[in-house]
């Protein structure tokens, strides 16, 4: 047996780390997946290789996040290794060591937002974003698409790339009105400089293989074709599975494998998925085989044949309607619309709850409306664990005005004592400093 696409698997199950012993994010989570992959002899397949993760550096985190009070207070070694696992997965592909890679690592990351005060949705650090920023700093890659197939809306990834027109974020998830974190509605389409590069496909409970594949065909693939990314990343959460204990969907291992084949991502990163015995071993096997271009048609769960996973006709109809609406909104984004004059700040006020660490955060986020670049970003934030702090980001493609404005903001902030901590992310000059 020989893989049609060579595949690097960065496998790091963190067998000695848990949020707490009974938490879904515990030592046991990838145990049965490892057993299944080992028993199937996956790592012996010609063209499939296993790798050790790297460990993310302070710079890797500070390039991506505003961490308050600092990186060490909001992360543990497990988070740095998990993020380092995605970096390893990225370098394997970018250095042409393998065609594709799969970071089978934990803990996950897609609920971690631009600002980090602690853990939310089991996530501290957004491991895909750390990877994307690493790639953009070290390789000449401009346009990246992240397709999030976790059952929960990836509100963290959406938040980080809300203003970034070079990163397309598409999430298909269980409708936020029925599941944590509640966001991910159709009308969430990105900030003023990046409208239409955030796409949400909220799917109803009990969506089956059929529904997911409809969403792929009708929304994900056409928008990807339009965006023409240099690189496609799959946030491969596995909690859409019919056996997942904390969600309500009917997706199967075979369905995940088909989706993986259709998406043809360069890099996949494990996100959620907590049916650790009934789903993960089979879904991970399906994704692995599909990425390597191998036959996955024999992969299915032990109870697969007994389950009726046929999708209700009404649900199919509803999903088709959702897809039409998403596409309509997406097309509208291309038309000129009302926005502020360039050189003005567009301001959002956000309240964020960190369910895992029970922290409340208040944010005032200001983005410079700009036609030349992504726009300088300023976030004032305070939480139940931190006094008022400030984050300033000068984007990678910053125009002169936005760059100057960034340093003006920094000077003003440092000359007063309004903020306890100030962090600068100067992507253009690769300066990441906490004051």
């Amino acid at each position: 047996m020989k893989a049609k696409s060579t595949l690097g698997i960065v496998f790091f199950p963190a067998f000695d780390w848990a949020i707490h012993p009974l938490h879904p994010e515990r030592e046991e989570r990838l145990l049965y997946t490892l057993d299944q992959l080992n028993e199937e002899g996956v790592f012996d397949i010609d063209g499939i290789y296993q790798y050790k993760p790297d460990i993310a550096s302070l710079n890797d985190i500070m390039r991506t996040h505003f961490c308050f009070p600092d990186v060490s207070k909001v992360t543990t070694e497990s988070h740095l290794i998990s993020a380092g696992g995605t970096i390893k997965a990225a370098t394997l592909v970018m250095d042409n060591i393998v065609n594709k890679s799969f970071a089978l690592v934990r803990p996950p990351g897609h609920h971690a937002m631009k600002v980090v005060h602690g853990a939310r949705g089991f996530c501290n650090i957004n491991i895909e974003a750390v990877m994307v920023e690493y790639i953009r700093e070290h390789y000449p890659v401009k346009k990246i698409a992240i397709v999030d197939t976790d059952c929960h809306h990836g509100d963290g990834t959406q938040d980080i790339y809300w203003h970034d027109r070079d990163v397309l974020y598409i999430s298909m998830h269980q409708d936020g009105r029925t599941l944590y974190p509640g966001t991910g509605a159709i009308h969430e389409l990105g900030g003023p400089n990046a409208l239409g590069t955030t796409i949400n496909i909220p799917l109803p409970p009990n969506t089956s293989d059929e529904g997911f594949l409809i969403a792929m065909e009708r929304v994900v693939l056409p928008i990807l074709k339009d965006f023409k990314p240099d690189l496609i990343i799959n946030s491969a959460g596995q909690d859409n599975h019919y056996s997942d204990p904390i969600t309500n969907m009917n997706f199967s291992a075979l369905g995940y494998a088909k989706l993986t084949e259709m998406l043809n991502a360069d890099i996949a990163v494990l996100e959620g998925g907590y049916s650790i015995q009934g789903a993960l071993p089979y879904v991970n096997l399906g994704i692995t085989l599909a990425m390597a271009g191998l036959d996955y048609s024999y992969v299915h769960e032990p109870d697969y044949s007994q389950k009726d996973l046929t999708q209700d006709k009404e649900i199919t109809k509803y999903i088709k309607r959702v897809c039409d609406q998403v596409m309509k909104r997406y097309e509208e984004c291309k038309k000129p619309s009302f926005k502020l004059m360039p050189g003005n700040y567009d301001v959002r006020k956000k309240e964020i709850y960190y369910d895992t660490d029970n922290i409340r955060e208040m944010q005032l986020e200001s983005i410079m409306v700009c036609e030349e670049c992504r726009g300088v970003l300023k976030i004032e934030t305070t939480s139940t664990v931190n006094p008022l702090c400030l984050g300033i980001e000068i984007p990678l493609d910053a125009c002169d005005r936005c760059q100057k404005e960034g340093y003006r903001l920094l000077d003003t902030a440092l000359s007063g004592d309004r903020y306890k901590y100030v962090q600068l992310i100067d992507r253009k000059n690769k300066k990441y400093v906490l004051y």
Binding site: D16, P21, E40, L285
Partner: protein, 559 residues
Amino acid sequence: MIIMYLGLDVGGTHTDAVIIDKSGVVAHTKVVTTPHNLLECISQAFKNILTGIDPSHIKRVNLSTTLTTNAIIENKCEEVGVLVSGGPGINPALYSMGNHYYVIDGQIDHRGTEITLLNLNQLEKATKKCRKKGIKAFAVVSKFSTRNPVHEQYIQQKLDDADFISVGHTLSGNLNFPRRIATAYYNAAVWRLYNKFSYAIEEVLRELGVIAPVNILKADGGTIPLHVSRTIPVESILSGPAASVIGTMALCNITEDAVMLDIGGTSCDIAMFADGAPLIEKDGIRLNTHNTLVRSLKTKSIGIGGDSAIKIDGNTVTAGPQRLGMSMAEGGQNPTIIDALNVIGTINLKDTGRSREGMYALEKKSGISSHNIAQQAITYALDIIYNEVMAMIDEVNSRPVYTIHEFLKGKVLKPKTIYLIGGPAKTLAHHITQRFGWNVKVPQYAEVANAIGAAVARTTVDIELFADTQRCRLLVPNLNVNIRIPQEYDVDNAIEDATNYMMQYLESIGVDEREREIEILQVYSFNMVEGFETTGKNIRVHCQVKPGILHQCRDILKI
């Protein structure tokens, strides 16, 4: 009482034998290997080495043979009926081996739960077909049989008229279905041949008056008693490189990170030591394009040796991997690395004039001076060895780890010593030292280190204990242990049980008490949680008797 140990290693070209006692090596012999009838060269070597020695002094005979390896590579195996129950996953038809491979429906999952019963109709049909073809040797393998062997056991019962059945879970406790299939298949395929051979060897020794127990060397550098090996003949494959590694350990007291280079005529075998212990391959050795679960030392063979032929392509001088016969100095027709060493004056072996002649012929063809050709060929060979050693160290250090503790605190291999053995070892020591900048040691008897290794190797076993307290099950697959345990069973019980099972086994196969040194390699205990309730523990204990040198031999070799 005089105690002597006899070791014999069948190599591709030569068969070496040694006898050692407390004074060291008392006799050694080298005979030409007779690949089509190994019994011939083995008998000859025994006869030679026992000349003038009282055979009753021999207390242990250890053999490393290429019998099973050759049979598999040359496909001189018996027809085997392979009965496999796969269940969902990767299509089991893709792992077909031999001419009589049958997939039977049935599924066991990763916890060992029987999801689907065996399809008895299919089983009946498959066994009928095999019987019709007169097949008498079988391999029986099911997916996850090391978690629950019920399917393998059932199929085994249905084959009561077979001569031999190789049952997957009894060969290794590891997870890896395709490797289990290949291992069980090879085991059945060489069973008859091997058994014939093993009885013949006993006969030969009896005739020579040797009454000592006979052991067979394995690829992991350990031995098993001959009578035990009769049901697991596959364990005897590819033991050659391991013999050299153990030999090196016997000749040098290795306690640090180190590299072994065994340089022969055709090839160079590389092995590694971490704090003096030889490194072991993670899953098992690969033979004839198939990966197996046969435990093995981590070794790598590259096509560079003393007889590697020198080639010139344009301005580039290379050597190997072909061997076109001996060096010119020793009567060959093509200049080799040995000739190059003669030309630059490192050595002065046999007919140095012919070495110079050969190199001069290359000079005329290429326009490069003889001296430069010789120098470049040696540099080329050293570069290849250097790069392979570095790649291997890199590979070992980037092995996947699964815990944060191992990731941050795990052992990093940093060898700075090379132990050099094999025929041309001494001649190359100077160059190897220069190329690596490391400490290079060439032990005495380097040229028969392999046979010495065979003589002094201790018996090794490795087991994987698996306990699931929710299902109240404990398994040690390769010792055929499958018992009920109480729900309160914990990791300490598991470690104790693993040690006890291992002890009992070692005793049952006649291993001396002093040699029952058990090492716990890895212990995992996972809380199994369903919903927000702990339902039990999933415990894994991996332990071994690690490859090394018999205590008695340590005493006599004073190491």
